[in-house]
């Protein structure tokens, strides 16, 4: 349970405003290490007060991108603009960004207090100002009683908080978080995610977080950039990324999804109006309400999330589209959900997830049952990439 919920969040979407000026702009950034291209001609805008995630598997270039913003690496080509100013060549110690490191990077020979004060001392603030700011930061991360401890006298969660306090102490324009919660256990991680969001909203800062954990990215972000092999696959809000992925890669990377390869049979509805795509896939007919950029005969993928697939032992009234028959192969019981893995009559495998809304089910679906999987026409999605 969250102790306090803070102010109600307001709708925030500067990226939809064509007049909005980006706070950070990566402009045609390429970074090569020897022959390896870590980031490949990437352009990205991030807006003020945005909580932005770079999401992708390890080696996709997300950390490199962040390190270039912090100043630890220089782009091979392209430039980075911060508030409209090119920051290429500015050393890390003169950039208005601060970073929270994956390893926390707390100075082991300094107390918690000294760690937090370190950045402030570099700014030549007065003693009074420094101690006031340190106190404020300790309060923010609820570590007032730990001021005199050394980092090795703290637990993992406490260290993480000190690292956060230290990186926030200078009130950076942009806070960079490199896998900030990776070392915490699940429960603590979830709590901390909400705290991070509160801090970000209350202080009105721009946060850029690097993570490979899609749940984390979905929870905290205003927008997510999904990266793969140095390029951005999609930039969108968590809901858009989940419900309208633009490619097989994004669909597969975020959450669970059924992907069925097929060919477009028509891009019109039965009444002849555009906006419905009909796909043929080895005898299965799939329909999706969607404007489709592809034309009849194109090879595409049909994607549908398991939780949108209904599983039933009874044959539906209409089996012409979006209905398949098969045998329950495996069941994953997750508590809130059960995932059914169904082997279709033609040997292919699909997943259906069902919320466990009642504790006891009269006639539960079990292994070996013959079932029908159905889904509405607005549940599926045609992916051309």
């Amino acid at each position: 349970m969250a102790k306090s919920l803070g102010p109600i969040k307001r709708k925030f979407s500067p990226w939809t405003d064509p007049a909005a000026v980006p706070f950070i702009r990566f402009e045609n950034i390429t970074k090569r290490f020897g022959t390896f291209t870590a980031v490949d001609n990437l352009t990205l805008d991030i807006y003020e007060r945005e909580f932005f995630s770079l999401l992708g598997p390890s080696g996709c270039g997300k950390t490199t991108l962040m390190r270039m913003l912090a100043g630890f690496d220089e782009p091979t080509e392209g430039r980075i603009l911060l508030q409209g100013k090119d920051i290429s060549g500015v050393p890390p110690y003169r950039r208005p960004t601060n970073m929270m490191f994956q390893s926390y990077a707390l100075f082991p020979h300094m107390t918690v207090e000294k760690n937090i004060a370190f950045g402030l001392e570099q700014d030549k603030l007065s003693k009074g100002e420094i101690s006031a700011r340190v106190e404020e930061m300790l309060k923010l991360v609820k570590l007032e009683t730990f001021a005199k401890r050394k980092p090795n006298q703290l637990s993992g969660g406490q260290r993480q908080r000190v690292a956060l306090a230290r990186s926030l102490a200078k009130r950076p324009k942009v806070l960079l978080l490199d896998e900030p919660l990776g070392a915490l256990d699940k429960k603590l991680r979830e709590e901390t995610q909400f705290e991070l969001m509160d801090i970000q909203t209350n202080l009105g800062l721009t946060f850029l977080i690097v993570t490979h954990d899609q749940e984390e990215a979905m929870t905290v972000s205003d927008r997510i950039a999904v990266m793969d092999k140095g390029v951005i696959m999609q930039v969108a809000t968590p809901a858009e990324i989940y419900e309208a992925p633009n490619s097989r890669y994004v669909a597969d990377f975020i959450g669970d999804i059924n992907i069925i390869e097929g060919t477009i049979a028509s891009t019109q509805s039965a009444l002849g109006a555009p906006g419905e795509v009909l796909i043929e896939s080895d005898g299965i007919r799939l329909a999706a309400e969607q404007e489709c950029p592809a034309v009849s005969g194109d090879k595409v993928a049909f994607a549908v999330r398991p939780e949108k697939v209904r599983i039933s032992p009874d044959q539906p009234a209409d089996t012409s589209v979006n209905a398949v028959h098969g045998e329950v192969w495996d069941i994953g019981y997750l508590g809130d959900f059960s995932v059914f893995i169904v082997k279709l009559d033609d040997g292919r495998v699909m997943r259906a997830a069902q919320a466990n809304v009642s504790r006891l089910v009269d006639r539960p679906i079990t292994f070996g049952d013959m079932v029908w999987l159905t889904w509405p026409r607005d549940a599926g999605l045609v992916l051309t990439r």
Partner: protein, 272 residues
């Protein structure tokens, strides 16, 4: 039981092999007789003569100064070399540089000594205190470089990056973050360098000149005229100093370990 007895025997033999010569040396330093091989009763006489032996005392003083100075300069240079090797990545000639750091370790001392001698002769420097110090700095800095290098290899670079990120310029970052953290290795390197300098006979005898006789040279030359219990006395004092050093360092290590365990308990326990 049998194997226990066997183990004990082997252990005793091993230790006897190592320590009997030293014990004999110590025991005979308290010998009242002038003859090294005949026990003539307990006496502190030789410690007295040693103390009033001006030549021996001068040599001890030279050795101490050479040791302190060359170990200190060697530590600074060695640390710098280690930083260059670990930090500057793959600069051209890195392999060569790295090899050149290791070479004096395997180089026969005679060769190092001779080459230093030829250098000093070639550039026409009078041999003495400073030439020995330079020679000792040269060979001890390699050892320091290796000790510090191994510490730097496990050093978490993100600590330095964090300092830079918080607005600390590189030079200050080195003094505020890097140096305090690698300091135990630097000190260990210094102690190694000091011991090596103290110990060295070969290189010193090549590079020294009149008025700068080090203790090992003095001892060696006296022994050639016949071993006197005086030598035993000064050696016993050296052994005593080394033993005290070893004991202090092992107590410190144990204390650090104990503190680390307490810290861990504290971290698990939560707020006080």
């Amino acid at each position: 039981m049998k194997s226990y007895r066997f183990d004990a025997t082997v252990l005793t033999l091993g230790f006897a092999f190592l320590y009997i010569p030293i014990i004999i040396l110590i025991v005979y330093s308290f010998n009242a007789s002038r003859l090294v091989t005949v026990w003539g009763g307990f006496s502190l006489h030789w410690y007295q003569t040693m103390w009033s032996n001006q030549g021996l005392m001068d040599a001890a003083w030279v050795t101490a100064r050479v040791g302190l100075l060359s170990a200190s300069i060697g530590t600074i240079l060695g640390t710098m070399a280690a930083l260059a090797l670990v930090r500057f990545g793959r600069f051209p000639g890195r392999m060569l540089f790295s090899g050149m750091i290791y070479a004096p370790l395997v180089m026969p001392e005679v060769i190092t000594g001779l080459s230093m001698l030829l250098l000093f002769v070639a550039i026409g420097i009078d041999r003495g205190f400073w030439t020995v110090t330079v020679a000792h700095t040269t060979f001890t800095m390699c050892y320091v470089a290796i000790v510090v290098q191994s510490r730097l290899l496990t050093f978490d670079r993100s600590l330095e990056e964090a300092a830079l990120d918080l607005g600390c310029p590189p030079v200050q970052t080195f003094f505020k973050i890097t140096l305090p953290l690698i300091f135990p290795a630097v000190i260990a390197g210094w102690m190694l360098a000091f011991t090596l300098s103290l110990d060295d006979l070969v290189i010193a005898s090549f590079t020294t000149g009149p008025g700068a006789t080090t203790l090992p040279i003095k001892i060696y030359s006296q022994v050639r005229l016949g071993v006197t219990p005086e030598i035993n006395a000064i050696c016993t004092i050296l052994i005593g100093l080394v033993t005290i050093g070893v004991i202090i360092s092992s107590i410190t290590t144990k204390r650090t370990e104990l503190r680390r365990q307490q810290d861990e308990h504290m971290a698990l326990r939560g707020p006080v």
